[in-house]
């Protein structure tokens, strides 16, 4: 129980604030960058900043930060696990938001962002699951537990993998864009119901653990790494969205051949 409490808290306590503040800024930034607001050089600077912050942040997490009281060295995986959890949630929230924008406006750049965020989100959630399992084995004694967060993240990852599979199987561009958006909205909304129903299922057996405080140095390193992951994610999403736009342009049927003079 003691171990779970420490793991629980940064995610539950900080997620709302982090998502609200950073989320709104990042949403605007990603949309602006994807519409060509930044020149290529500045955009890569965001990626480089993220890379630098990840290197510094991981050094702080692995070497310079104090050992976690309960878990010792194992606790250091938090500095990868928690930021990837935050960013997975944030990225999939973006997917849902962009999908809604696409369905309302029909503008193609939203569709490219849907594909980009869904794909980056799946990669992040795989990272989340992998670090989570490595973390769970020494602390909980098992690789997997029927915890609501675990189940709902896995369900969401599977849903988005399904959506991307569907997308890959459709050839018509308009149809593909609309259906990806519909699938993304379904996947995100159902994740909420899954979370609460699994929590209910579990709570019949055991009570939820209560929040506690995290030591200040840990919070700083966590936040640092979260921003590092955020910058890298934004960079990845923007690159992926551009790739998606290029592919679409490539697949588009060629313009009618010019009339050849006799």
């Amino acid at each position: 129980m003691e171990l779970m409490r420490i793991k629980d808290l940064p995610i539950t306590a900080d997620l709302a604030g982090f998502a609200a503040v950073v989320g709104v800024i990042a949403l605007g930034a990603v949309a602006w960058v994807a519409r060509g607001g930044l020149t290529r050089r500045w955009e890569h600077l965001v990626g480089l900043l993220g890379l630098w912050m990840v290197i510094v942040g991981q050094y702080m997490g692995l070497v310079s930060s104090p050992r976690e009281r309960m878990m010792g060295e194992v606790g250091r995986i938090l500095y990868v696990h928690v930021p990837s959890a935050w960013l997975t949630m944030l990225t999939f929230t973006f997917t849902c938001a962009f999908a809604t924008f696409f369905l309302f406006s029909g503008k193609r750049h939203w569709d490219h962002l849907v594909e980009a965020t869904a794909e980056v989100g799946v990669v992040l959630s795989i990272l989340l699951q992998a670090t989570g399992m490595l973390f769970a084995k020494p602390t909980w004694g098992v690789f997997w537990d029927w915890d609501p967060r675990l189940v709902s993240t896995t369900v969401m990852m599977l849903s988005f993998m399904g959506v991307l599979t569907l997308r890959g199987l459709l050839d018509d561009v308009d149809r593909r864009a609309t259906w990806t958006s519909v699938g993304s909205i379904l996947a995100t909304t159902s994740m909420i119901v899954t979370y609460f129903s699994v929590r209910w299922w579990r709570s019949i057996h055991q009570m939820q653990s209560s929040p506690d405080t995290v030591a200040d140095p840990m919070v700083f390193v966590l936040r640092w790494n979260a921003f590092a992951f955020l910058f890298l994610t934004v960079w990845f999403v923007v690159q992926r969205a551009r790739l998606s736009a290029r592919r679409e342009a490539l697949d588009a049927p060629p313009a009618l051949p010019e009339e050849v003079p006799a």
Binding site: L166, L170, S190, S197
Partner: protein, 225 residues
């Protein structure tokens, strides 16, 4: 044409099609039967079966629902029936509600067929009152049908649709399987804490969400043809 009459017309059309090709529903019955039978053999021993009755019923229904839903759109694509239906002077939402209601009725028929078979094969010993079981069955089938109809409308026109439908649908209906199987098991094994009510509540919330949201999304899907 008012909304209710339009929905009723679509339901009538769907059920008529099902009736004309009765072998499809018949096939579903046999499929469900075979599933609950096979499931029993995969379990450690007959002594465990009474506890598994609720789960077996709903697992059978969820798996059978993918066949039913896939078929409900596959037939539309033959001879361009969907395009003809879109020419009707009814809003797309009416088509969605009609199809989803018809799918609910088909799933309920399968549920009513499977429930006694599970009762026979799994020997559950009901210790509580079962009057809520029909409610759980109706709510559960509705909760499978609404997202199922929407997902089937997406996958039916992709290549390899029959494999894709479960991939998209199963993650979506995890709460349905969980809530209805838990509620059924609680009703069968006795429910001193009235927890079945809460699980029924989960199904109601799920239904409210999907019967409203999915109709809106369906309009977009159909617009795209």
């Amino acid at each position: 044409m008012t909304g209710v009459r339009a929905v009723a017309a679509v339901v009538g059309r769907e059920l008529r099609t099902e009736w004309r090709d009765r072998s499809r529903v018949g096939g579903l019955f046999v499929y469900g039967f075979a599933l609950v039978l096979a499931l029993a053999f995969a379990m450690p021993g007959p002594h465990m079966l009474p506890d598994l009755a609720g789960g077996a019923l709903w697992l059978g229904l969820v798996l059978a629902s993918t066949r039913a839903l896939d078929a409900s759109f596959a037939t539309e694509l033959e001879h361009g029936a969907l395009e003809a239906m879109l020419l009707w002077p009814v809003p797309p939402a009416a088509i969605f509600y009609g199809k989803a209601l018809a799918n609910t009725i088909v799933l309920l028929m399968v549920a009513c067929f499977l429930a006694p078979i599970v009762g026979l094969l799994y020997h559950p010993e009901p210790r509580g009152s079962l009057w809520m079981l029909p409610l759980v069955m109706v709510a559960g089938c509705m909760a499978l049908a609404a997202p199922g109809t929407l997902v089937a409308s997406l996958t039916s026109r992709a290549r390899g649709s029959s494999a894709l439908l479960p991939v998209l649908l199963f993650p979506l209906v995890v709460p349905v399987l969980l809530a209805s199987a838990r509620a059924t098991t609680l009703l069968l094994e006795g429910d001193p804490m009235n927890q079945a009510d809460d699980w029924l509540g989960v199904l109601v919330v799920f239904n409210l969400l999907h019967w409203s949201l999915d109709a809106l999304l369906f309009e977009r899907v159909i617009d795209e043809g």
